[in-house]
């Protein structure tokens, strides 16, 4: 056991001891909860001993609670049944109440999750991940994140130099063109693309579909895929893009697909698969599915509302 393991073990024991006097809800804790994103790693609390805090851990860590805490619901009619219901969803159910309001731990956990989601918006995809995935990086017309957020059109266009570069350096006329965009969550790209992309490329190869040069667009929106389509003329264009961050996950990715898209096309011409992440559609599974879907688009020569799934 190395030092880190030991430290976390000790911390766990202390936490258990400290939480003994928390009101018990009569339910077994959910343990490694299936659905809820782990607390962001903030490096762990530094012990800071004092008289009323001999263990030096500060106020009990919210993220040590069951993610759907229950203190307001003393005796559920069917405790095991309720545990089963809670295991079926990551939604905040079985949280109990104080009068009609949320009990305080559940309320604070909500605030903590909101704070983490807000902080996640301003991160960028690491260059190592882009390189490791074999993506060619370019940037939309948005100069920075703030401009990207306030003016969506910037994230839907390239400046002339970038457009020329894409045209020059990427394969054109392939059957399938892959575009990856940070969109509203860089974490979604970092967490899912490393597993999704290989499964996708494998699937496309199995279907004997030719693939263009995969691109990464920093500050990209959904419609930037149409600009890529205009420049490189693939049959199918895929946009793997970070969805807006939520409280339960800030790592959810979508795939938008077009068959023979074009700049200015209507949104309804796109097909979309959303909620790709560990507890939604897992990335590897999504990769295989998107490969099949790409084939279907090519066979039926349709996407969006014209494609009957």
């Amino acid at each position: 056991m190395d030092e880190q393991d030991l430290e976390s073990l000790v911390r766990g024991v202390l936490r258990d001891l400290l939480s003994r006097d928390e009101p018990s809800d009569g339910l077994a804790p959910r343990g490694a909860s299936p659905g809820v994103a782990p607390a962001p790693d903030r490096g762990g609390p530094t012990p800071d001993q004092s008289e009323d805090d001999p263990a030096g851990l500060g106020a009990a860590d919210l993220y040590a609670d069951d993610p759907q805490p229950l203190p307001g619901l003393a005796v559920p009619a069917d405790p095991e049944g309720l545990a089963r219901l809670r295991a079926a969803t990551t939604a905040r159910i079985g949280v109990g109440r104080a009068g009609p309001r949320l009990p305080h731990r559940a309320w604070l956990r909500f605030r903590a999750d909101h704070a983490a989601a807000m902080d996640a918006v301003f991160t960028d995809v690491s260059p190592e991940i882009i390189a490791a995935a074999g993506l060619t990086p370019v940037q939309s017309a948005a100069p920075d994140k703030a401009a990207f957020l306030m003016d969506p059109d910037l994230g839907r266009a390239f400046d002339a130099a970038t457009a020329a570069l894409i045209k020059q350096s990427c394969r054109s006329g392939a059957q399938v063109q892959v575009v990856v965009c940070d969109g509203l969550s860089s974490t979604a790209v970092e967490n899912n693309v490393p597993d999704l992309l290989p499964a996708l490329l494998q699937g496309l190869e199995r279907h004997r579909l030719s693939v263009g040069t995969p691109l990464f667009v920093k500050y990209g929106r959904v419609r930037i895929m149409d600009e890529v389509t205009g420049l490189l003329d693939p049959e199918v264009t895929l946009n793997l893009i970070g969805e807006r961050p939520g409280l339960v996950t800030n790592a959810s990715l979508s795939c938008y697909l077009t068959y023979r898209g074009r700049p200015g096309m209507a949104e309804s011409g796109r097909t979309v698969l959303s909620n790709i992440y560990r507890d939604g559609t897992p990335p590897a599974e999504a990769g295989a599915y998107i490969a099949d879907l790409s084939l279907k688009l090519i066979q039926t020569k349709a996407s969006g509302l014209d494609l009957k799934l």
């Binding site: 009619a77 905040r92 559940a106 957020l149 939520g246 996950t249 209507a266 909620n275």
Partner: protein, 456 residues
């Protein structure tokens, strides 16, 4: 038409109604995005002054988006009752505001006025209103809708239970439904947004909702919020549905993006009338929200408040059972902060009611704006006071599939208790029989425990 005024010695001129309408708004980031927001505080007031003196006739004869160029404009024009219009056309916008608020104006008078208004007139008068004007004004304009039963009657407050799941997992959906029902939420509709937009999964979700409704004899409605064409195919195949849902917007080109036309919605309404679960007469459900047009570049240079009014004008054609905004759903490019979100919620509710729609509300926010839960709760209380027909019921206020925050089951129960409101009578009876609400409509001891649905 006079589009100029002098304010404190400065002259303000506006080129046309589009510019005037944009500048007369309270501040919204979406208006600034397309460069039509007022540049200074004084310019904003000057625009309101000019607007207040225009007559309703001048507004109608200078369309912001001409009917020959836009289906939404045509639908709105077709919906005007000409007799009522003749009676009110000489009113100024300012005069209309005061008339709507006056003690001497009767409910029947307001009914007449409503029939003669176009969406642009409604937008114009809204721009002259303050927070309390919007709350008070809307409270004088109740509109209810009847599908299986009526919701939106004064004294009641209903909820759409929104049990979404990131994999459309039916057990997960059921779990959230039990939780919501245990708080007596769900009398407007049990309505799921499906992840997968295809006929099979839409039908599967509708069947599940139907089973829950039948198993516990719950008098309510069910809906699956896939694209309307998907729902139509599911219903044609025999899936149970109380109403059909669709997102709609205030320009033809935005509706194109959404894949809808007036003709498609006509077909949808005819279909659900023949094959739906309920007698109606109100059988459609629409979602809207300020900023959807500007966020996709389909705004035609018109401000987001006016486009929202146009959306309501379009929706009115279908005599819907439910209409709710989700202003705050998109992001900071349309609504920047809590103040703008609260304002938009009040405006939307007032405009919807003035146009004659059974308006519910979804004061909400995403995590890439500065809006927070405290702002959201203020908006909720204000529009509840204004008489919103219904709100959403989302577990813990956190939609785990759409990734945004909206009203929770807790908020729902709180508002009923605070304002002394009860569910729709049929559902209220059920909730009392089931032991969830007392005779005053307050949560009982037993309420808030989803597991009661496993033991009864």
């Amino acid at each position: 038409m006079i589009l100029r005024t002098t304010l404190a010695g400065n002259v303000y001129r506006f080129a046309d109604l589009k510019e005037l309408f944009g500048k007369a708004n309270e501040e919204k980031s979406g208006d600034h995005l397309i460069g039509i927001g007022a540049q200074t505080a004084s310019e904003r007031v000057a625009a309101k002054v000019v607007l207040s003196q225009l007559t309703l006739e001048q507004i109608r004869s200078h369309p912001l988006i001409p009917p020959d160029q836009d289906e939404v404009s045509r639908v709105i024009e077709q919906g005007v009752n000409e007799t009522a219009y003749q009676r009110i056309k000489a009113l100024t916008v300012g005069g209309l505001r005061d008339y709507l608020l006056a003690h001497s104006t009767t409910a029947a008078d307001r009914q007449t006025v409503r029939a003669g208004l176009t969406a642009e007139m409604v937008a114009a008068v809204t721009k002259l209103m303050s927070t309390q004007d919007l709350v008070y004004g809307a409270s004088l304009l109740p509109v209810s809708g009847t599908c299986r039963y009526q919701i939106g009657r004064p004294g009641t407050l209903s909820f759409r239970l929104q049990p979404n799941h990131p994999k459309d997992d039916l057990d997960g959906i059921r779990a959230s439904i039990y939780e919501g029902l245990s708080y007596a939420s769900g009398d407007a509709v049990l309505g799921v947004n499906p992840v997968e937009d295809n006929v099979d999964s839409c039908a599967r979700i509708l069947e599940t909702l139907w089973q829950v409704m039948e198993r516990w004899h719950i008098p309510t409605h069910i809906c699956c919020l896939a694209h309307v064409s998907t729902q139509m195919a599911a219903v044609e195949r025999g899936a149970p549905a109380s109403m059909l849902f669709q997102s709609v917007a205030g320009t033809e080109s935005a509706n194109d993006d959404f894949g809808v036309t007036a003709a498609l919605l006509d077909q949808a309404e005819a279909l659900i009338r023949r094959h739906g679960l309920c007698a109606g007469p109100n059988l459609m459900y629409f979602e809207t929200g300020q900023g959807s047009e500007v966020s996709i570049g389909a705004d035609k240079g018109v401000d987001e408040l006016t486009l929202e009014a146009r959306t309501y004008g379009f929706a009115k054609r279908y005599h819907p059972f439910m209409v709710n905004n989700v202003s705050g759903f998109i992001g900071p490019e349309t609504i920047y902060d809590g103040r703008q979100m609260i304002r938009a919620s009040l405006e939307d509710h007032f405009m919807g009611k003035l146009i004659g729609l059974p308006m519910g509300m979804a004061p909400c926010y995403t995590n890439h704006t500065g809006i927070d839960q405290n702002d959201q709760e203020m908006a909720t209380l204000l529009v509840a006071l204004a008489g919103a027909n219904y709100f959403m019921g989302v577990p813990g206020g956190d939609d785990i599939m759409l990734s945004y925050q909206d009203t929770s089951f807790h908020d729902d129960a709180t508002m009923r208790e605070l304002l002394g409101l009860t569910p729709a009578p049929e559902f209220f009876d059920w909730a009392q029989e089931f032991g969830l609400l007392d005779a005053a409509g307050r949560l009982t001891e037993r309420a808030g425990d989803a597991s009661i649905f496993l033991t009864s």
